[in-house]
Protein backbone atom coordinates (compact mmCIF):
# COMPACT_ATOMS: atom_id res chain seq x y z
CA UNK A 1 0.00 0.00 0.00
CA UNK A 2 1.23 3.50 -0.84
CA UNK A 3 1.57 6.06 1.89
CA UNK A 4 0.40 9.66 1.82
CA UNK A 5 1.08 12.45 4.29
CA UNK A 6 -1.60 15.14 4.32
CA UNK A 7 -0.23 18.49 5.45
CA UNK A 8 -2.99 21.00 6.14
CA UNK A 9 -3.91 23.15 9.11
CA UNK A 10 -7.61 22.54 8.51
CA UNK A 11 -8.98 19.48 10.23
CA UNK A 12 -11.92 19.42 7.84
CA UNK A 13 -9.75 19.36 4.74
CA UNK A 14 -7.55 16.65 6.25
CA UNK A 15 -10.64 14.58 6.96
CA UNK A 16 -12.02 14.98 3.43
CA UNK A 17 -8.65 14.21 1.84
CA UNK A 18 -8.09 11.25 4.14
CA UNK A 19 -11.44 9.80 3.21
CA UNK A 20 -10.72 10.06 -0.52
CA UNK A 21 -7.18 8.70 -0.16
CA UNK A 22 -8.34 5.74 1.90
CA UNK A 23 -10.84 4.80 -0.78
CA UNK A 24 -7.88 4.91 -3.19
CA UNK A 25 -6.08 2.41 -0.94
CA UNK A 26 -3.53 4.77 0.61
CA UNK A 27 -2.23 4.51 4.13
CA UNK A 28 -2.69 8.05 5.40
CA UNK A 29 -0.95 10.15 8.03
CA UNK A 30 -1.55 13.80 8.89
CA UNK A 31 0.37 16.91 9.89
CA UNK A 32 -1.02 20.33 10.81
CA UNK A 33 1.88 22.43 9.54
CA UNK A 34 5.22 22.22 7.73
CA UNK A 35 7.30 21.63 10.82
CA UNK A 36 5.17 18.67 11.93
CA UNK A 37 5.38 17.39 8.39
CA UNK A 38 9.18 17.49 8.39
CA UNK A 39 9.27 15.54 11.64
CA UNK A 40 6.86 13.00 10.15
CA UNK A 41 9.02 12.62 7.02
CA UNK A 42 12.15 12.02 9.09
CA UNK A 43 10.36 9.31 11.06
CA UNK A 44 8.87 7.62 8.01
CA UNK A 45 9.10 8.97 4.52
CA UNK A 46 5.76 8.79 2.62
CA UNK A 47 5.37 8.07 -1.11
CA UNK A 48 3.47 11.30 -1.64
CA UNK A 49 2.72 14.49 0.26
CA UNK A 50 -0.44 16.53 -0.16
CA UNK A 51 0.66 20.02 0.79
CA UNK A 52 -1.36 23.09 1.73
CA UNK A 53 0.08 26.57 1.08
CA UNK A 54 -0.90 28.77 4.01
CA UNK A 55 -0.23 27.21 7.39
CA UNK A 56 0.97 28.49 10.76
CA UNK A 57 4.53 27.74 12.00
CA UNK A 58 5.84 26.62 8.60
CA UNK A 59 4.12 27.26 5.28
CA UNK A 60 3.93 24.84 2.38
CA UNK A 61 6.62 26.68 0.42
CA UNK A 62 8.95 26.78 3.43
CA UNK A 63 8.37 23.08 3.95
CA UNK A 64 9.12 22.32 0.31
CA UNK A 65 12.47 24.16 0.53
CA UNK A 66 13.33 22.47 3.82
CA UNK A 67 12.44 19.08 2.38
CA UNK A 68 15.08 19.58 -0.32
CA UNK A 69 17.76 19.77 2.39
CA UNK A 70 16.67 16.61 4.18
CA UNK A 71 18.74 13.44 3.77
CA UNK A 72 15.73 11.23 2.99
CA UNK A 73 16.06 7.73 1.50
CA UNK A 74 13.82 8.70 -1.43
CA UNK A 75 12.26 12.01 -2.28
CA UNK A 76 8.50 11.85 -1.85
CA UNK A 77 6.28 13.24 -4.60
CA UNK A 78 4.78 16.57 -3.59
CA UNK A 79 1.32 17.63 -4.68
CA UNK A 80 0.39 21.15 -3.66
CA UNK A 81 -3.24 21.29 -2.65
CA UNK A 82 -4.39 24.81 -1.99
CA UNK A 83 -6.91 27.58 -2.52
CA UNK A 84 -4.14 29.70 -4.07
CA UNK A 85 -5.43 29.25 -7.59
CA UNK A 86 -3.59 31.89 -9.58
CA UNK A 87 -1.05 31.15 -12.27
CA UNK A 88 1.69 33.01 -10.35
CA UNK A 89 1.28 30.73 -7.33
CA UNK A 90 1.19 27.64 -9.48
CA UNK A 91 4.35 28.66 -11.29
CA UNK A 92 6.15 29.44 -8.02
CA UNK A 93 5.24 26.05 -6.56
CA UNK A 94 6.38 24.11 -9.62
CA UNK A 95 9.61 26.09 -9.79
CA UNK A 96 10.22 25.34 -6.11
CA UNK A 97 10.04 21.63 -6.91
CA UNK A 98 6.41 20.56 -6.48
CA UNK A 99 5.43 17.71 -8.80
CA UNK A 100 1.76 18.54 -9.18
CA UNK A 101 -0.81 21.10 -8.12
CA UNK A 102 -4.41 20.69 -7.08
CA UNK A 103 -6.67 23.69 -6.73
CA UNK A 104 -9.22 23.46 -3.92
CA UNK A 105 -11.99 22.55 -4.00
CA UNK A 106 -11.22 19.26 -5.65
CA UNK A 107 -13.10 15.99 -6.02
CA UNK A 108 -12.13 12.36 -5.93
CA UNK A 109 -11.54 12.07 -9.68
CA UNK A 110 -9.27 15.10 -9.68
CA UNK A 111 -7.15 13.86 -6.82
CA UNK A 112 -6.97 10.38 -8.28
CA UNK A 113 -5.91 11.70 -11.68
CA UNK A 114 -3.20 13.89 -10.13
CA UNK A 115 -1.86 10.96 -8.10
CA UNK A 116 -1.76 8.92 -11.29
CA UNK A 117 0.13 11.69 -13.04
CA UNK A 118 2.85 11.67 -10.38
CA UNK A 119 2.92 7.87 -10.58
CA UNK A 120 1.72 6.85 -7.13
CA UNK A 121 -1.84 5.74 -7.91
Amino acid sequence: MKTCLIVDDSKVIRKVARHILETLDFTVSEAGDGREALTACRASCPDVILLDWNMPVMSGMEFLRALGGEPLPARPKVVFCTTENGMAHIRAAIEAGADEYVMKPFDRETLQSKLQIVGVA
Binding site: N85, M87, I94, Y101, E109, S113
Partner: protein, 282 residues
Amino acid sequence: MSAAAHGQPTIDAGSAQVFAALLEARTGQRIAAARSWKFDAALKPLLQSLGLDRVEQLTARLMERHDTALADRIVDSLLNQETSFYRDAGVIETAAKLVHEQPAPARVWCAACATGQEPLSLAMLFAEAGGPMPEIVATDVSAAAIVRARAGSYSQFEIQRGLPIRRMMQWFESAPNDQWVAQPKLLATIAYRRHNLVTDPAPAGLFDLILCRNVLFYLAPHLREQVLERLAAALKPSGVLLLGAGETVIGQSERLRPCRRARGFYERVGAPDTPERLYTAR
Protein backbone atom coordinates in the same frame (compact mmCIF):
# COMPACT_ATOMS: atom_id res chain seq x y z
CA MET B 1 -42.26 16.14 0.94
CA SER B 2 -42.46 15.38 -2.74
CA ALA B 3 -41.66 11.98 -4.18
CA ALA B 4 -38.56 13.47 -5.82
CA ALA B 5 -37.18 14.48 -2.43
CA HIS B 6 -37.32 10.83 -1.46
CA GLY B 7 -35.43 9.84 -4.56
CA GLN B 8 -38.53 8.25 -6.11
CA PRO B 9 -39.06 8.71 -9.83
CA THR B 10 -41.56 11.44 -10.51
CA ILE B 11 -41.51 11.24 -14.29
CA ASP B 12 -44.74 9.90 -15.77
CA ALA B 13 -44.57 6.94 -18.12
CA GLY B 14 -45.83 8.98 -21.06
CA SER B 15 -43.11 11.60 -20.74
CA ALA B 16 -40.44 8.94 -20.25
CA GLN B 17 -41.54 7.32 -23.52
CA VAL B 18 -41.51 10.61 -25.39
CA PHE B 19 -38.01 11.48 -24.20
CA ALA B 20 -36.66 8.00 -24.83
CA ALA B 21 -38.05 8.11 -28.37
CA LEU B 22 -36.60 11.57 -28.94
CA LEU B 23 -33.17 10.47 -27.71
CA GLU B 24 -33.22 7.37 -29.87
CA ALA B 25 -34.36 9.25 -32.98
CA ARG B 26 -31.66 11.87 -32.54
CA THR B 27 -28.70 9.75 -31.44
CA GLY B 28 -29.49 6.06 -31.81
CA GLN B 29 -29.22 5.66 -28.05
CA ARG B 30 -31.74 3.51 -26.30
CA ILE B 31 -32.62 3.96 -22.65
CA ALA B 32 -34.25 0.94 -21.09
CA ALA B 33 -37.56 1.66 -19.35
CA ALA B 34 -36.00 0.43 -16.13
CA ARG B 35 -33.53 3.30 -16.26
CA SER B 36 -35.99 6.03 -17.10
CA TRP B 37 -35.66 7.33 -13.51
CA LYS B 38 -32.44 8.81 -14.79
CA PHE B 39 -34.47 11.32 -16.76
CA ASP B 40 -35.52 13.06 -13.56
CA ALA B 41 -32.04 14.02 -12.45
CA ALA B 42 -30.86 14.68 -15.99
CA LEU B 43 -33.70 17.07 -16.80
CA LYS B 44 -33.70 18.97 -13.53
CA PRO B 45 -31.30 21.76 -14.58
CA LEU B 46 -33.28 22.28 -17.80
CA LEU B 47 -36.57 22.47 -15.91
CA GLN B 48 -35.06 25.01 -13.56
CA SER B 49 -33.69 27.16 -16.35
CA LEU B 50 -37.11 27.18 -18.01
CA GLY B 51 -38.87 27.95 -14.73
CA LEU B 52 -40.90 24.72 -14.84
CA ASP B 53 -41.74 22.54 -11.86
CA ARG B 54 -42.64 19.26 -13.39
CA VAL B 55 -41.49 17.09 -16.26
CA GLU B 56 -45.02 16.93 -17.70
CA GLN B 57 -44.86 20.65 -18.35
CA LEU B 58 -41.73 20.11 -20.41
CA THR B 59 -43.39 17.32 -22.37
CA ALA B 60 -46.40 19.55 -23.02
CA ARG B 61 -44.25 22.43 -24.20
CA LEU B 62 -42.23 20.17 -26.48
CA MET B 63 -45.29 18.65 -28.08
CA GLU B 64 -47.49 21.71 -28.33
CA ARG B 65 -45.00 23.93 -30.04
CA HIS B 66 -42.99 21.40 -31.96
CA ASP B 67 -39.99 23.26 -30.64
CA THR B 68 -36.78 21.86 -32.20
CA ALA B 69 -34.51 24.08 -30.13
CA LEU B 70 -36.17 22.72 -27.01
CA ALA B 71 -35.81 19.18 -28.35
CA ASP B 72 -32.07 19.85 -28.79
CA ARG B 73 -31.80 20.99 -25.20
CA ILE B 74 -33.66 17.96 -23.92
CA VAL B 75 -31.44 15.58 -25.89
CA ASP B 76 -28.33 17.40 -24.64
CA SER B 77 -29.52 16.99 -21.07
CA LEU B 78 -30.03 13.26 -21.54
CA LEU B 79 -26.65 12.55 -23.12
CA ASN B 80 -23.79 11.38 -20.97
CA GLN B 81 -21.02 13.81 -21.87
CA GLU B 82 -18.54 12.68 -19.30
CA THR B 83 -14.96 13.05 -20.44
CA SER B 84 -11.59 14.24 -19.22
CA PHE B 85 -8.15 15.25 -20.38
CA TYR B 86 -5.89 12.30 -21.15
CA ARG B 87 -8.62 9.81 -20.40
CA ASP B 88 -6.78 6.50 -20.54
CA ALA B 89 -3.49 8.41 -20.84
CA GLY B 90 -1.35 5.53 -22.13
CA VAL B 91 -3.42 4.95 -25.26
CA ILE B 92 -3.67 8.65 -26.04
CA GLU B 93 0.12 8.87 -26.02
CA THR B 94 0.37 5.79 -28.22
CA ALA B 95 -2.22 7.29 -30.57
CA ALA B 96 -0.11 10.42 -30.96
CA LYS B 97 2.99 8.32 -31.70
CA LEU B 98 1.15 6.28 -34.32
CA VAL B 99 0.04 9.49 -36.02
CA HIS B 100 3.60 10.76 -36.06
CA GLU B 101 4.73 7.66 -37.93
CA GLN B 102 2.35 8.49 -40.77
CA PRO B 103 3.37 10.67 -43.69
CA ALA B 104 2.43 14.33 -43.22
CA PRO B 105 -0.01 15.89 -43.31
CA ALA B 106 -1.67 13.38 -41.03
CA ARG B 107 -5.41 13.58 -40.36
CA VAL B 108 -7.24 12.77 -37.13
CA TRP B 109 -10.96 12.48 -36.43
CA CYS B 110 -12.19 12.65 -32.83
CA ALA B 111 -15.76 11.40 -33.13
CA ALA B 112 -18.06 12.02 -30.13
CA CYS B 113 -15.53 14.44 -28.66
CA ALA B 114 -17.99 15.81 -26.07
CA THR B 115 -16.66 19.09 -24.64
CA GLY B 116 -13.31 18.82 -26.40
CA GLN B 117 -10.85 17.51 -23.80
CA GLU B 118 -9.96 14.58 -26.05
CA PRO B 119 -8.93 16.52 -29.18
CA LEU B 120 -7.11 19.07 -27.01
CA SER B 121 -5.17 16.28 -25.30
CA LEU B 122 -3.95 15.12 -28.69
CA ALA B 123 -3.31 18.64 -29.96
CA MET B 124 -1.00 19.35 -27.00
CA LEU B 125 0.97 16.16 -27.67
CA PHE B 126 1.25 16.96 -31.37
CA ALA B 127 2.37 20.52 -30.71
CA GLU B 128 4.93 19.41 -28.12
CA ALA B 129 6.36 16.78 -30.46
CA GLY B 130 7.04 19.44 -33.11
CA GLY B 131 6.93 18.84 -36.85
CA PRO B 132 3.95 19.43 -39.11
CA MET B 133 0.72 19.69 -37.13
CA PRO B 134 -1.80 16.99 -38.02
CA GLU B 135 -5.25 18.16 -39.04
CA ILE B 136 -7.79 17.40 -36.29
CA VAL B 137 -11.52 17.22 -36.94
CA ALA B 138 -13.56 16.95 -33.73
CA THR B 139 -17.27 16.15 -33.84
CA ASP B 140 -20.20 15.46 -31.55
CA VAL B 141 -23.93 15.13 -32.00
CA SER B 142 -24.58 17.68 -29.26
CA ALA B 143 -24.62 21.27 -30.45
CA ALA B 144 -24.09 22.47 -26.89
CA ALA B 145 -21.03 20.25 -26.48
CA ILE B 146 -19.54 21.58 -29.72
CA VAL B 147 -20.12 25.18 -28.65
CA ARG B 148 -18.29 24.45 -25.40
CA ALA B 149 -15.49 22.55 -27.14
CA ARG B 150 -14.95 25.39 -29.57
CA ALA B 151 -14.70 27.88 -26.69
CA GLY B 152 -12.08 25.69 -25.01
CA SER B 153 -13.13 26.98 -21.61
CA TYR B 154 -13.12 24.66 -18.60
CA SER B 155 -14.11 24.93 -14.96
CA GLN B 156 -11.60 24.34 -12.21
CA PHE B 157 -12.90 20.78 -11.79
CA GLU B 158 -12.73 20.00 -15.49
CA ILE B 159 -9.26 21.45 -16.05
CA GLN B 160 -7.74 19.43 -13.22
CA ARG B 161 -9.04 16.07 -14.35
CA GLY B 162 -6.20 14.26 -16.04
CA LEU B 163 -4.31 17.35 -17.18
CA PRO B 164 -0.76 17.57 -15.82
CA ILE B 165 -0.13 20.96 -14.22
CA ARG B 166 2.82 21.77 -16.49
CA ARG B 167 0.63 21.33 -19.55
CA MET B 168 -2.03 23.50 -18.00
CA MET B 169 0.57 26.22 -17.39
CA GLN B 170 1.82 25.95 -20.93
CA TRP B 171 -1.45 25.76 -22.85
CA PHE B 172 -4.17 27.45 -20.79
CA GLU B 173 -4.84 30.94 -19.43
CA SER B 174 -6.91 31.68 -16.38
CA ALA B 175 -10.12 33.61 -17.01
CA PRO B 176 -12.80 35.12 -14.75
CA ASN B 177 -15.17 32.85 -12.79
CA ASP B 178 -12.63 30.10 -12.19
CA GLN B 179 -12.43 29.26 -15.88
CA TRP B 180 -9.34 28.11 -17.73
CA VAL B 181 -9.24 28.75 -21.45
CA ALA B 182 -7.12 26.96 -24.03
CA GLN B 183 -4.78 29.21 -25.96
CA PRO B 184 -6.18 30.30 -29.32
CA LYS B 185 -3.22 28.84 -31.20
CA LEU B 186 -4.00 25.42 -29.74
CA LEU B 187 -7.74 25.67 -30.40
CA ALA B 188 -7.02 26.80 -33.95
CA THR B 189 -5.50 23.40 -34.74
CA ILE B 190 -8.90 21.74 -34.29
CA ALA B 191 -11.94 22.02 -36.58
CA TYR B 192 -15.11 21.44 -34.52
CA ARG B 193 -18.29 20.30 -36.19
CA ARG B 194 -21.65 18.89 -35.22
CA HIS B 195 -21.97 15.35 -36.50
CA ASN B 196 -24.23 12.41 -35.82
CA LEU B 197 -22.41 9.09 -36.03
CA VAL B 198 -25.59 7.19 -36.75
CA THR B 199 -27.09 9.32 -39.50
CA ASP B 200 -24.37 11.53 -41.02
CA PRO B 201 -21.72 10.50 -43.54
CA ALA B 202 -18.17 10.66 -42.18
CA PRO B 203 -16.31 13.96 -42.62
CA ALA B 204 -14.70 14.18 -46.06
CA GLY B 205 -11.38 12.51 -46.74
CA LEU B 206 -9.61 9.61 -45.05
CA PHE B 207 -7.98 9.56 -41.63
CA ASP B 208 -4.78 8.20 -40.09
CA LEU B 209 -6.43 8.01 -36.68
CA ILE B 210 -10.05 7.90 -35.63
CA LEU B 211 -11.06 8.06 -31.99
CA CYS B 212 -14.57 6.93 -31.16
CA ARG B 213 -14.51 6.35 -27.46
CA ASN B 214 -17.23 5.69 -24.93
CA VAL B 215 -20.18 6.25 -27.21
CA LEU B 216 -20.74 3.02 -29.16
CA PHE B 217 -21.88 1.06 -26.12
CA TYR B 218 -24.94 3.28 -25.90
CA LEU B 219 -26.07 2.19 -29.36
CA ALA B 220 -28.17 -0.80 -30.34
CA PRO B 221 -25.99 -3.57 -31.85
CA HIS B 222 -27.17 -3.10 -35.44
CA LEU B 223 -26.42 0.64 -35.27
CA ARG B 224 -23.03 -0.05 -33.74
CA GLU B 225 -22.22 -2.29 -36.68
CA GLN B 226 -23.26 0.40 -39.15
CA VAL B 227 -21.16 3.02 -37.40
CA LEU B 228 -18.12 0.71 -37.35
CA GLU B 229 -18.54 0.08 -41.09
CA ARG B 230 -18.53 3.81 -41.70
CA LEU B 231 -15.51 4.37 -39.46
CA ALA B 232 -13.61 1.58 -41.23
CA ALA B 233 -14.39 3.18 -44.58
CA ALA B 234 -13.05 6.51 -43.32
CA LEU B 235 -9.65 5.07 -42.38
CA LYS B 236 -6.64 5.32 -44.66
CA PRO B 237 -5.29 1.84 -45.48
CA SER B 238 -2.67 2.26 -42.74
CA GLY B 239 -4.98 4.19 -40.39
CA VAL B 240 -5.98 3.09 -36.89
CA LEU B 241 -9.18 3.24 -34.87
CA LEU B 242 -9.28 3.70 -31.11
CA LEU B 243 -12.36 2.79 -29.08
CA GLY B 244 -12.96 3.28 -25.35
CA ALA B 245 -11.35 0.97 -22.81
CA GLY B 246 -13.44 -2.17 -22.80
CA GLU B 247 -15.06 -1.53 -26.19
CA THR B 248 -14.28 -3.84 -29.07
CA VAL B 249 -14.99 -4.43 -32.75
CA ILE B 250 -14.71 -8.17 -32.34
CA GLY B 251 -17.87 -9.85 -33.51
CA GLN B 252 -19.25 -6.51 -34.70
CA SER B 253 -17.36 -5.72 -37.86
CA GLU B 254 -15.92 -7.76 -40.69
CA ARG B 255 -13.88 -4.83 -41.91
CA LEU B 256 -11.84 -4.21 -38.76
CA ARG B 257 -9.42 -6.29 -36.77
CA PRO B 258 -7.04 -5.73 -33.84
CA CYS B 259 -4.08 -3.64 -34.96
CA ARG B 260 -0.76 -5.42 -35.04
CA ARG B 261 1.25 -2.29 -34.32
CA ALA B 262 -0.44 -1.21 -31.12
CA ARG B 263 -2.47 -3.06 -28.55
CA GLY B 264 -5.97 -1.69 -28.03
CA PHE B 265 -6.20 -0.19 -31.52
CA TYR B 266 -7.98 -1.52 -34.61
CA GLU B 267 -7.04 -1.45 -38.28
CA ARG B 268 -8.74 -2.24 -41.55
CA VAL B 269 -8.78 -5.84 -42.65
CA GLY B 270 -6.19 -5.89 -45.42
CA ALA B 271 -4.12 -3.10 -43.91
CA PRO B 272 -0.54 -3.09 -45.23
CA ASP B 273 1.89 -5.30 -43.39
CA THR B 274 4.22 -2.93 -41.56
CA PRO B 275 4.62 -4.04 -37.98
CA GLU B 276 7.80 -2.01 -37.42
CA ARG B 277 7.18 -1.41 -33.77
CA LEU B 278 4.79 -2.74 -31.19
CA TYR B 279 3.18 -0.39 -28.70
CA THR B 280 1.60 -1.96 -25.66
CA ALA B 281 0.02 0.90 -23.76
CA ARG B 282 -2.86 -1.36 -22.80
